[in-house]
């Protein structure tokens, strides 16, 4: 970690966003992660995303569990709300917060350990409930905070820093999420913000569970030869299924596809994700097709990235349960706590 904080100066010619804020206003404290950690790039991508979408930081709730990844909410949007919860329990805490106040923007930060091992059950059920949140998995294939043991996302045959080979099958967060019926599933790479930022924008604007699985190399324990989650390996094996652009609601979609098939995917707030197909026959709206395609990639050791799956008709938790739109905190006391008589009447229904 650095002893000095990031100087409070900036390039005078940089633009401010619609709120009159500049990108530096979306930063957090200086990172205490290892220098070169992929997680820091993801924090930077989130800073850029929130800045460019002109989201007021106070409308954002950041939640996390335990692990290197779960430390990162401290490193972006210091003027927003945050909850650093118990290991693997980020989805429950987010669920509670979301149930109480659906007007906020929820971004959960988790890792492969936090979500695919101890929190696997929570992860699946958050998807099942279709919680309206962006669920970010900072995926590095190791337990970095406990010095580099294989995590549940480590590939068969990949080696630990000292040479030990992993023989257990990996859990693929994206495949699991598609299988569970998440409405928005994407995969990115911390070393490619050009692709990552539009995917994050889409995830924030999607109504319902939006999972973004981000390959985020651990420079200290998993960036060696033999690792399948290193910077070099990822660069060699990842390929974009499509080029992704995010188009805000007010903007018109201008089609200049350069000969490629161009697919605009509409999000709930009227914005669009604009996909330029790189992989010709890939359709992210076809759940079974996407699943099969990705499964094959996994078997071949390829790392496909981009918007993997989207369900344009996803119905989130609140819609499905017909909950009140007003945040509970804004309701009058009489409405939220109607008194003993109403309680007795309600209980009476179950007698």
């Amino acid at each position: 970690m650095s002893f000095i904080s990031k100087p409070k100066v900036g390039h005078p010619a940089l633009q401010r966003n619609e709120l009159g804020l500049w990108q530096r206003d979306y930063e957090g404290t200086i990172s205490t992660l290892c220098a070169g950690c992929g997680h820091d790039s993801i924090s930077a991508a989130l800073i850029q995303t929130f800045f460019e979408l002109s989201i007021e930081p106070y409308r954002v709730a950041k939640t996390s569990g335990i692990g290197c990844s779960s430390k990162t909410p401290a490193y972006f949007l210091s003027q927003s709300h945050a909850f650093n919860s118990v290991h693997g329990r980020m989805p429950s805490v987010t669920m509670g917060a979301n149930a109480a106040n659906s007007s906020m923007i929820f971004v959960g930060i988790s890792g492969d350990g936090d979500s695919l091992s101890i929190g696997m059950g929570q992860f699946c059920h958050a998807i099942r409930r279709n919680l309206n949140m962006a669920y970010i998995i900072e995926n590095n294939g190791v337990y970095g905070l406990t010095k580099g043991q294989f995590s549940a996302s480590a590939d068969i045959g990949s080696t630990a820093k000292k040479g030990e080979v992993n023989n257990q099958k990996p859990i693929d967060a994206a495949l699991t999420a598609i299988n569970q019926g998440a409405g928005y599933v994407a995969r990115g790479f911390s070393g490619d913000k050009e692709q990552l930022v539009p995917l994050l924008k889409g995830a924030l604007r999607h109504k319902g569970m939006a999972l973004v699985d981000i390959i985020s190399p651990c420079v200290t324990f998993n960036d060696h030869e033999g690792s399948t989650k290193s910077y070099a390996h990822t660069r060699e094996h990842y390929h974009q299924l499509e080029q992704t652009d995010f188009v805000p609601p007010a903007e018109e979609i201008t089609v200049s596809s350069e000969g490629r098939e161009l697919t605009p995917v509409r999000l709930h707030d009227g914005s669009h994700i604009l996909l330029r197909n790189v992989e010709k026959d890939y359709d992210p709206r076809d759940q079974a097709g996407a699943f099969a395609y990705l499964k094959n990639c996994q078997l071949r050791g390829e790392i496909p990235t981009g918007l993997l799956f989207i369900d344009e008709n996803s119905i989130d938790f609140h819609e499905r349960n017909n909950t009140i739109e007003t945040p509970l905190i804004d309701l009058d006391h009489e409405d939220i706590c109607p008194g003993a008589d109403v309680l007795a009447e309600m209980l009476g229904r179950y007698r």
Partner: protein, 599 residues
């Protein structure tokens, strides 16, 4: 644009904006860091090496370094470099044993220097330690030239002048005061191996308006300042009009206030932003309640009964004509009543002592033809420098000329090609001390520029020789040095170590880094993370990066040298390295002596 060669001595030199802008290329970050460490002697000696007169320049330098300071581009106000220089001079101990000494054994070469001003003294300073015999001819009975006669004592005390000039003269110069050269021809017939003309630009320009010669209370600025300096003049009328908007006008008006002037008006033809006076000299004059009358074009002197009673001006408005030239239109006329008028409208060379048939050519403006590299005139062995060479500039330029002239004289006297000079050199040294520790203060200091304390307005006018500026204390100096952005601690990049993790890009506070495909410079500048608007600042482009083949591009413009890119780099592809630029002086030039200076 391909990989940039940072081994080229000019590359990192340009990044050190202050050093690059200084005509003598003083290692500014180097010496102000020494000041912050309390090493005033070392700071003084480092200064003296390049600019020879730290105490003098620390008060009256034209400071081209300050407008160039990177801090101006970050937050407007530069580091108070000039005033820090003075701290080194004020607080140093006796450094006499560290000064260069002339050897007992002379090299048999004898050099004549005309004028005992800053240019000649610099030449003497460089040549004396090498065994040259140096004869300085000075028409006045004092040394220092215009530094003494034109800069008022309340800005530059004679003690400071004497001390630094003596350091040079005491090396054994043959100083002949009161010895005016009246014939160059005669001098050339004497047995000198080379002659240097450092006679300055001692003639003030005249302003030929009606009535100019009808009163004896109309003076030429630099002549008037000179007569004040020699105590021939010790009073002036209550109402004084100064004509001119340059630094001499500022000295004249402030001197007038101390000699009895009550209402002192400075009139200039141009609007404020076009005045030649330095901002800080204008500010100092305004602090003393000088009336600055802009857009006043002089018309005539008002003489009543043989007595000067005022001066008439046209009040003008400026606009650009179709050729972009400024033209004025008269709006009104005004008479400023006054007892004295001082004309400070510029100065020029005076070479009346120089015959025109001795092989020294003059151009159409009667300025000697001088080679810009060797400073030699069209006559072999005759050199010009300082204001005498290319017209009036300032002290620091004269010093820079002096160093170059010394190299030329040294080479000339040994029969070597004067155009073959040692190139500048850059040496790099890592400042890494530990995981995230550097041997320099890398944290950005948000403090604003410290003001130098001044003697109160009540006190300062009591006597002419009360120095107005008090100078920083050691504590104030330390605080001001922290504002320095350490532009000499370079971000040195090694492409083959980079794993393209983006850590440096993400942390850079001023977004000066981009990883992108290489391209032609102009086009590349459009693809950077932050707008690249300052074309005078270089772009660094690395070799191709190992994983993607992109290049690391750095816009040098706004880098605050905080070192965070290097701290966040997992592979030490970035390192913070001190660049030391060495500018060769005469003593470094390998001629017959073969003796090199310890750098």
């Amino acid at each position: 644009m391909g990989p940039v060669d940072t081994k080229n001595p000019d590359y990192y030199h340009k990044v050190v904006d202050c050093q690059w802008a200084c005509p003598a290329h003083t290692d500014v970050p180097g010496y102000i860091r020494l000041i912050a460490q309390g090493r005033f002697d070392d700071a003084y000696m480092l200064n003296r090496e390049s600019n020879v007169f730290p105490g003098i320049l620390g008060r009256v330098c034209d400071r081209p370094c300050e407008p160039a300071c990177r801090r101006v581009r970050i937050e407007e106000k530069p580091v108070a470099i000039c005033r820090l220089k003075r701290v080194a001079a004020d607080l140093r101990n006796d450094i006499s044993d560290r000064l260069p000494k002339a050897p007992k054994q002379k090299n048999g070469k004898k050099i004549a220097l005309i004028g005992a001003g800053c240019a000649s003294l610099t030449v003497a300073n460089d040549l004396l330690p090498m065994g040259y015999e140096v004869v300085i001819f000075e028409k006045f009975d004092t040394t220092g030239g215009l530094m003494r006669t034109n800069i008022p004592v309340f800005r530059l005390p004679p003690k400071v002048l004497d001390e630094e000039i003596d350091m040079i003269v005491d090396m054994g110069a043959d100083l002949r005061l009161g010895h005016e050269i009246t014939s160059m021809k005669d001098l050339l017939e004497e047995n000198f191996d080379a002659v240097f003309v450092g006679s300055g630009a001692p003639r003030g320009r005249n302003l030929d308006v009606p009535g100019r010669y009808d009163s004896d209370r109309i003076y030429i600025g630099i002549d008037w300042l000179e007569s004040v300096a020699f105590e021939h003049t010790d009073s002036i009328g209550e109402n004084v009009v100064i004509v001119g908007g340059g630094n001499t006008a500022m000295d004249c008006c402030r001197t007038s206030l101390r000699l009895g002037g009550k209402r002192v008006m400075v009139t200039a033809r141009k609007p404020r932003h076009l005045l030649k006076a330095s901002d800080w000299e204008l500010e100092d004059a305004e602090e003393e309640q000088i009336e600055l009358l802009l857009n006043h074009a002089p018309l005539r002197m008002i003489i009543e009964d043989g007595k000067l009673t005022g001066m008439e001006f046209a009040i003008v408005e400026w606009h650009e004509d179709e050729n972009g030239r400024l033209q004025s239109t008269e709006l009104d006329r005004v008479i400023l009543p006054c007892d004295d008028v001082i004309l400070a409208v510029g100065q020029e060379n005076a070479f009346s002592f120089m015959e025109r048939d001795i092989g020294i050519e003059f151009d159409q403006w009667d300025v000697p033809v001088v080679d810009p590299v060797t400073f030699q005139s069209t006559r072999e062995g005759v050199f010009f420098g300082g204001d005498a060479a290319f017209g009036p500039k300032n002290i620091i330029w004269a010093v820079a000329h002096g160093h170059e002239v010394a190299i030329s004289i040294h080479k000339y006297c040994h029969g070597e090609d004067m155009t073959e000079r040692l190139p500048d050199k850059v040496t790099m040294e890592s400042t890494k001390m530990g995981m995230h520790e550097w041997s320099y203060s890398n944290d950005y200091d948000e403090g604003s520029r410290r003001l130098v304390p001044h003697v109160s307005l009540k006190e300062r006018f009591k006597k002419l020789n009360i120095e107005v500026e008090l100078g920083f204390t050691a504590e104030q100096a330390i605080a001001e040095v922290e504002r320095c952005l350490n532009c000499d601690i370079q971000t040195e990049f090694e492409a083959k170590r980079c794993i393209e993790c983006d850590a440096c890009i993400d942390i850079c506070p001023v977004d000066c880094l981009t990883m992108t495909e290489d391209g032609p410079e102009e086009e590349l500048r459009t693809r950077l993370n932050a707008p690249s608007t300052n074309m005078e600042q270089a772009l660094y482009v690395s070799e191709a990066l190992p994983q993607t083949g992109r290049a690391m591009v750095k816009d040098e413009d706004l880098c605050v040298h905080c070192g965070l890119c290097a701290e966040r780099c997992p592979t030490a592809a970035w390192d913070m390295q001190k660049s030391l630029i060495s500018i060769p002086l005469a003593v470094d030039q390998p001629v017959c002596q073969k003796k090199r200076r310890n750098a």
